[in-house]
Symmetry: C2
Subunit: 215 residues, 2 copies
């Protein structure tokens, strides 16, 4: 069964998935790296960056789940690049020549353009579509594997609101950002549709998993 999944999506204790003032230099605004420091310390993350060491505990266990079994990703325009990227027809995204997706990757944008094949298996497709339409396309591309909903905040929220997420791994980071984009708005009662587990990590973050009831 092909699942629609969220992996390692980080929110502050006050529910912000990104800070205020996002830009090319500061993709998470005034949050800086604070939502993701726990991740950078894991063995898996360091390995991906060619570095030795890193912790191999519960944080690493969850980071290890990011890629296996995933056949396509859907992301928002803001994850693909800084505001205004669509005005540059040569722009190939913020993720370098060999992006870390390695699958068909669908970018939700009101400015579609021709698909771009990158190194390492990532092909960017630019679509102006509803969450359900995007999921149909991504699921077909995933060829039986899972579809990862990669963010940003409003994309996760829209897919949750549309009832399209089967499994979500959320990481609550004990900081108060105070401003930015909030994940939880308009999702009252979401817990009724999910089995929820929480496990805190020695790093200070709490991992939460939302598994669709009856799955």
């Amino acid at each position: 069964m092909s699942l629609t999944r969220v992996q390692s999506f980080c929110v502050s204790l006050d529910g912000y998935g990104t800070g205020e003032g996002q830009s090319h230099e500061a993709p998470f605004g005034h949050a800086g790296d604070r939502l993701h420091e726990w991740m950078f310390a894991t063995r898996r993350w360091r390995e991906t960056g060619g570095q030795p060491g890193g912790n191999g505990g519960v944080d690493d266990a969850f980071v290890q789940l990011h890629d296996p079994g995933v056949g396509a990703e859907i992301m928002g325009a803001g994850k693909f690049g800084h505001p205004g990227w669509h005005e540059d027809p040569e722009w190939k995204g913020a993720w370098g020549p060999n992006p870390p997706f390695h699958t068909p990757t669908f970018i939700l944008t009101h400015h579609p353009r021709a698909s771009i094949e990158m190194e390492g298996g990532t092909t960017y497709h630019f679509i102006d579509a509803s969450p359900a339409e995007a999921l149909d396309m991504a699921r077909e591309a995933a060829d039986g594997k899972d579809v990862r909903i990669g963010g940003g905040v409003t994309v996760i929220r829209d897919f949750l609101a549309a009832g399209l997420i089967d499994h979500m791994h959320l990481v609550v980071v004990p900081i108060l950002l105070g401003r930015g984009v909030r994940l939880w708005d308009g999702l009252e009662g979401l817990e009724e549709n999910y089995e929820i587990e929480s496990v805190s990590s020695p790093s200070g973050v709490t991992h939460m998993t939302f598994t669709r009831a009856g799955l």
Copy 2:
């Protein structure tokens, strides 16, 4: 050293300390009992109500910390009684003839009245004061013991914003209330002043402790 403490204050995953529509019948509004069910299942809670059984795990361990060492409580008018209670001069609070505080208890209100001595050691004092002024009074009454800040939401937030809380035990309950009174507004960067620990419980809640740095 006399500490200023918060114990077992519950918030939803989206940061609400109470739901919308608070009334005499529904003190937490549309949240009902959902923020406190974990607490009702503990041994300590059941013992207080004269019932046998209950769980004796981490939830109970934290509930057990509510009273020992506390010499006074400060609470908001909304915890004392339903909106409009001050219009009834005979009203003695929502907590019965033998309230569960057993210490001097300071009620923040714009409608002060004479103090009321209740059964079991609780004396209600009604004060129109700033957080710092209220804390001075409560600390003197606590006679070397700790002062508990009992809520509601805006009282906790005001004391946090004023930098007056030494230790806070917060319980994050995995529900999305969507509306009500939010705890975290205006507290950006609060984590810089505290050592924070998180521990998740088999009941599904996550206990967080905030201990003032350098304490």
